[in-house]
Amino acid sequence: MDLEAVGDLVLHTIISNLTPKDTAIAACVSNKLKSSASEDILWSKFCFQELDLNEPIDPFGNLTPSFKACYQAWREAFSMYPWSLVMRVKRCWGRLKNWLSINFPEAEATLRKGVSEVEIQESERILKVKFPLPTRILYRFCDGQDFNEKSSGSASGSLLGLIGGYSYYTHLVNVFLLPLNEVVLNTKAIIRHIRLFSKNKYVVVAASYTESEKFFFLNCTTGQLHVGTVNLATEGEMIPCVPNALISSVHDSNGDQQQDAMLLWLEEHARRLENGMIKLREERGTRSISLFPEEPPFCSTAITNGVKVRASAVFVPEIADLQNETTKYTFSYSIRMSLQREGCVINGIPFSSCQLKWRHWIIRANDRVESDVNGEAVIGQYPLLLPGEKEFVYESCTPLPTSLGSVEGSFTFVPGRLADPKGAPFEVEVARFPLQLPDYIF
């Protein structure tokens, strides 16, 4: 039966319902179908739906003369990969770059443009590995971050890590994604020191450029990401960063189920940034991504007499010691306290300030009390809270023998100041917050 009898409008309607691939096939059928299939409005729809493009920009950042030419350029540039995976990786980087451009443009400026297939193959040749498919595509879109050695002295250059970090006492980490050339250099350097590695095809993909060391390794065979513990140098001890069950088909070009730990890890990170679970922290004029959770259930909030205390903890894998029973896991916690605008109100009587005198902590491993301590001050300070001011934030840490636990407690505050109290001391609650080995480790 000859469908040509229905006329151009019907053929046109059929073509406008086709996928990009089928539209291309239709164009190869005959001259008549080719003209319907070549309409740029169809290809602008595909560019928008699949590549999130409003303008015909090719993979190298150049404007192309039509959306059709643009779409073709993208398909050709990535013809060696399953297209659905390419779209997924593009979306992941899109989310991260979008969040950075709005919230942390100085970090977005460090992102390097993607590498070529040739550069990937060269790195693989030098390291004698085959990167998992999703990771290769990740590097095609973005080659990690530039790290400015010069400004690292001022610490501001070293806090632009995309993955972010935390600091407590003298321990400071801020994790960057490494460009391929750094991946090669760091991997070769580490292999020299840790014999185990060369057999198992690990490459260093992320690290902190601070005194405290933190390294992330991608296992190119399994596709899992691992973070080094305190025993990294001596034992090669590492902890997996992504739920194992989610990793699949990392070297299989067929089908569309490929996902490796790098992709899953970055997607999870994008999610947490987008939903405000983690936020930027500003300290002494410098901003960085802080990994302390900001939202329940991991961050607790309590308000007593106008004093608000928020508290959450983060797992510190680089200090973990899986061989040690009592200090197997270490958690750092961040306590933020502030005084509401109305001031400190005790039994209806308002006070214009209050100052911390004591702390009382109860730390549990599972449900068993590990420690119950009282002490003066917090990290040696007696914060004075004034109404409506920025939060006073401090960090500390605690070891834990189990992967699950909690912290809760209270602060004793004095209305007025310690030097000039205006009333009797009162207790301010720190609501319980969890200590938990997370499913995604950053």
Binding site: D22, I25, V29, N31
Partner: protein
């Protein structure tokens, strides 16, 4: 005649509801089958609608449809009838009452719309399940001639699904179109769209 008179065995017998004032319109297909169709359904056919709106054409004489076969018309009628039913699931958006009543009605409307959408989805999934490509093409020709936009849109979408991931040769056979490229043009355009030729189904 109250009941549909058939010269050929009609797999879709239509009974005029006794006592109801449902007007029917008589249609005669290319192969001589007579169909009595409820007016509401027949008016879904743009061609029929304009035919009866034009002059004072007698509604009792069968309207000839020389380009449509009995089997195709039967399927078309089934589709339009079901489509009307589904559309009637959504109450009309009339604004007669006070705002409170409207708000309640609004929520109910949303639920009804959702239910209608689901019904349509299931119905459309089933409707062409056992139809061959030739049957679908025949339906397209019928829907096009009868000027039934909704059915035509649905059929076009279904065709798009049927040729998904198929080869150029398959598409040519399906559309009954001869390739009119020279060998050089053919090679060139296949080169231009080389990315589309991975993982195409075997014919």
């Amino acid at each position: 005649m109250a009941n549909g008179e058939n010269q050929n065995p009609n797999p879709n017998p239509i009974e005029a509801t006794p006592g109801a004032a449902a007007r029917t319109i008589t249609l005669k297909t290319a192969d001589g089958e007579i169909f009595e169709v409820e007016e509401a359904v027949a008016m879904e056919f743009g061609t029929v609608k304009s035919f009866f709106e034009d002059d004072a054409v007698s509604a009792t004489k069968p309207m000839p449809l020389p380009n449509v076969s009995g089997s195709a018309l039967s399927r078309v009628i089934t589709y339009c009838r079901r489509s009307l039913e589904i559309r009637s699931m959504i109450p009309p958006a009339t604004s007669e009452d006070a705002t409170a009543a409207e708000a309640v009605q609004g929520e109910g409307d949303l639920e009804a719309e959702k239910a209608a959408k689901q019904e349509r989805k299931e119905f459309e999934a089933e409707f062409l399940k056992d139809e061959s490509n030739e049957d679908v093409k025949e339906l397209i020709l019928a829907a096009n001639y009868l000027n039934i936009k909704e059915l035509l849109d649905f059929l076009c979408r279904s065709v798009a699904l049927r040729i998904q991931n198929k080869s150029v040769e398959y598409a040519r056979k399906f559309f009954g179109i001869e390739g009119d490229y020279t060998p050089e043009e053919e090679a060139q355009i296949r080169q231009e769209y080389a990315w589309a030729f991975e993982g195409v189904d075997e014919d």
